[in-house]
C-alpha cells in the first residue's frame, strides 16, 4: 500500500493564540443558548412512534373481529429468549372461528424475557402477532410483567388485513376447487 504523507500545515499565529477559535465557539454556543430547547417533556409529551417500530409484541384480530392466532406455536419455538408460552386447544363451538382447527387457550409473553427482536412477528404464518408501538411497560412484580392472552389481544386491537387468506380460501372452496 502506498504511503501518503499527510501535509499538516503549521498553525497560524491566530490559531496558536486560541482566541479566534474560542470566539467562534462562543458564537456557536450563544446561538444554541437562544434556540428553544429540544427536550421532550416525557410523561406529558410523548414521542411520535415511527412506522416499523418494534414495541411490545401483541396479538391482533382480523377485520371480522376474530382472533387470528391458530396456535401453531412457531413463535414459541423461534423466540430466542423463550418468552412465549402457548397452551393450544380446540376452538370452541360457535366462536365464529370454525374455519380453523386450533386456537390458543392461553398465550403468555413474559416481558421480562422478551428482547423485542421481532422474530415472532416474522415467523407467524397467520400474521397474528405484531410488535406495535407500546414502549412503556411497568409492574411491581414479576407476575405482573407477563402479558396474558386477554391483555395481548387488547393491546393488539385490529389491524387491516392485507391478504384475507381465509376469505379467499372460503371463496375458492365455494367455487368448487378443493385447493385454491
Amino acid at each position: 500500500m502506498a504511503v501518503v504523507p499527510l501535509q499538516r500545515k503549521p498553525l497560524t499565529f491566530a490559531e496558536r493564540t486560541y482566541l479566534p477559535q474560542i470566539a467562534a465557539g462562543l458564537w456557536t454556543t450563544l446561538r444554541h443558548l437562544v434556540k428553544p430547547a429540544e427536550t421532550l417533556q416525557y410523561p406529558e409529551q410523548r414521542p411520535a412512534i415511527p412506522p416499523g417500530y418494534r414495541g411490545a409484541p401483541t396479538l391482533v384480530r382480523d377485520p371480522n373481529g376474530r382472533e387470528k392466532c391458530v396456535s401453531c406455536q412457531l413463535c414459541e419455538f423461534v423466540c430466542p429468549p423463550k418468552a412465549i408460552r402457548i397452551s393450544p386447544g380446540a376452538v370452541p363451538e360457535g366462536s365464529g372461528r370454525d374455519h380453523v382447527e386450533k386456537g390458543p387457550l392461553a398465550f403468555d409473553i413474559d416481558m421480562l424475557r422478551c428482547i423485542y427482536c421481532g422474530l415472532c412477528e416474522e415467523v407467524c404464518p397467520e400474521e397474528a402477532i405484531f410488535l406495535q408501538n407500546q414502549y412503556s411497560m411497568s409492574g411491581v412484580t414479576r407476575a405482573e410483567m407477563v402479558n396474558h392472552k386477554d391483555k395481548l389481544l387488547e393491546m393488539g386491537g385490529t389491524l387491516p388485513d392485507r391478504h384475507f387468506k381465509w376469505d379467499r380460501k372460503k371463496a375458492a372452496e365455494e367455487a368448487g376447487g378443493a385447493h385454491h
Binding site: 474560542i22 462562543l26 454556543t29 450563544l30 434556540k35 428553544p36 430547547a37 429540544e38 427536550t39
Partner: protein, 381 residues
C-alpha cells in the same frame, strides 16, 4: 447609619461578617443553579424545571415561573446538603480533612470586604465608595488573601490520603502559582497610570473606578479600552485562578474523578463549592472595577453624570442603590461569561496549561508592562 456606627466594634464586625455570609451563600447557590441553567440552554435543554413546593403550585403566574427557573431545585439541593450523612472516609487525616473546607471559606468570604460594591454622592457632590473595609491597599489585600485559598486545596488533597485528590492538589498549586504572576503583572499598568508622580500612592480599587469616571475622552475611557492586553491577560489568569474551565485542572472529572474534593461529600463539599463561586464573584468584581468602569453605566458616562440626568444627584441613597445595581449587573454579566466559556471551551491538557501560563501569558504580561511603563513615563513625565 449612626446607630450602626455607635455599636461596639466587635458587634459591628460580627454584623458585617454575618452580612457577608448571608449574602454570599445564597448568591453562590444561585450561581450553581445559574450554571446548570446556562449549561442546559447552551445544550438546547430546559434544565431543572420540575421541583416545586406544593404551596406554590396554587400561586398562578409566579409559581410556574419559579418552577421553570429551578428556584425550588436550588432550595431542595441546599437542604439535601444540610441533611445528608457526613461521611468521613477511614483513611483520611480527620483534623485536616475537616479543616480544609473551613479554610477554603476564609479567603472566599474575606476578600469580599475589600471590594467596593457601589458608590454614592454626598451632599457636597463628592463621590464616596460603599464597601465593608475601606483600606488603601485594596487590590493588594484581595490578591494576598485570595492566594490563601490554595492552602485549603493542598490541605484537602493531602488530608484525603488518596491519589486523585493528591494529584488534583498538586496540579492546583502548580497552576495557581504560575498564573498568579501574570495576574499581578497584568494589573500593574493600571496602577502605574493611576499613581501619577506627585499624587498620593494607592492600590485602592475605588480609586481605579474614580479614574475611569473623569471627564474628557481619556478620562472617561474604561481601562479595557486603553489597556486591552492587560484586560485579556487578567481575565485569562482569572479563569485559571478560579479553577474554571478551560483551566479546571484541579478537579478535571475525566482524569481525576473529582480532584481535590473527591473524598468530600455533603456540606463539606458544598463549602468548597461556595468558596469556588465566591472566588468567581470576587474575581469578576475586581475585573469590573479595574477594567469595566465599576459602577459607571457606560464608557464616558460616569455615575455622577447619570445621576445628573436622572435628577437624583442630591439623594445619596438613590444614587447608591443605582450604583449597586449597575455594579451587580456587570458582575452578573461577568459570571454569565464565565459559565458561557465553561460550556464552550474544552479543558486544556495539563502541559498545555503550564505552557500557556509560563511561555505565553507571562511574557505577554511582562511585555505589556514594559510597553505601558515606558508609555506612561513619557506621558506623565
Amino acid at each position: 447609619m449612626d446607630v450602626f456606627l455607635n455599636l461596639p466594634v466587635l458587634v459591628q464586625v460580627a454584623l458585617k461578617g454575618l452580612a457577608v455570609i448571608c449574602v454570599m451563600f445564597p448568591i453562590a447557590g444561585a450561581c450553581s443553579m445559574a450554571e446548570r441553567k446556562v449549561s442546559a440552554w447552551i445544550q438546547s435543554r430546559p434544565g431543572p424545571n420540575r421541583t416545586i413546593l406544593p404551596v406554590f403550585r396554587w400561586v398562578p403566574v409566579v409559581g410556574p415561573f419559579l418552577q421553570k427557573l429551578g428556584a425550588f431545585q436550588l432550595a431542595a439541593d441546599g437542604l439535601k446538603f444540610l441533611f445528608k450523612e457526613e461521611i468521613v472516609p477511614g483513611q483520611v487525616n480527620r483534623l485536616y480533612f475537616i479543616l480544609a473546607p473551613v479554610i477554603a471559606m476564609i479567603p472566599a468570604l474575606s476578600t469580599v470586604t475589600f471590594v467596593p460594591f457601589g458608590a454614592s454622592i454626598d451632599h457636597a457632590g463628592r463621590v464616596f465608595p460603599l464597601m465593608l473595609a475601606n483600606v488603601d491597599v485594596g487590590l493588594l489585600a484581595v490578591f494576598a488573601v485570595a492566594s490563601l485559598g490554595i492552602y485549603s486545596i493542598i490541605l484537602a488533597g493531602w488530608a484525603s490520603n488518596s491519589k486523585y485528590p493528591f494529584l488534583g492538589a498538586m496540579r492546583a498549586s502548580a497552576q495557581l502559582v504560575s498564573y498568579e504572576l501574570s495576574l499581578t503583572l497584568s494589573v500593574l499598568p493600571v496602577f502605574l497610570w493611576i499613581n501619577a508622580p506627585g499624587t498620593a500612592g494607592t492600590m485602592s480599587l475605588a480609586k481605579a473606578v474614580e479614574f475611569q469616571s473623569q471627564a474628557g475622552f481619556w478620562g472617561g475611557a474604561w481601562f479595557i479600552i486603553t489597556m486591552p492586553v492587560s484586560a485579556l491577560v487578567f481575565i485569562i489568569a482569572l479563569f485559571a485562578e478560579t479553577n474554571r474551565q478551560p483551566f479546571d485542572m484541579p478537579e478535571s472529572e475525566s482524569d481525576l474523578v473529582g480532584g481535590f474534593h473527591t473524598e468530600y461529600g455533603a456540606f463539606k463539599w458544598a463549602l468548597f463549592f461556595v468558596a469556588e463561586y465566591s472566588n468567581m464573584i470576587v474575581g469578576s468584581g475586581v475585573f469590573v472595577l479595574l477594567f469595566l468602569g465599576g459602577w459607571n453605566p457606560i464608557p464616558w458616562v460616569s455615575l455622577a453624570t447619570l445621576a445628573g440626568w436622572l435628577g437624583i444627584a442630591g439623594h445619596p441613597v438613590l444614587v447608591g442603590a443605582i450604583s449597586i445595581l449597575i455594579f451587580i449587573g456587570k458582575i452578573l454579566a461577568m459570571l454569565f461569561f464565565f459559565m458561557w466559556v465553561r460550556w464552550t471551551v474544552p479543558r486544556f491538557r495539563y502541559d498545555q496549561v503550564m505552557e500557556i501560563g509560563w511561555k505565553k501569558l507571562l511574557p505577554l504580561a511582562i511585555a505589556n508592562l514594559v510597553v505601558y511603563a515606558i508609555g506612561i513615563a513619557l506621558i506623565q513625565k
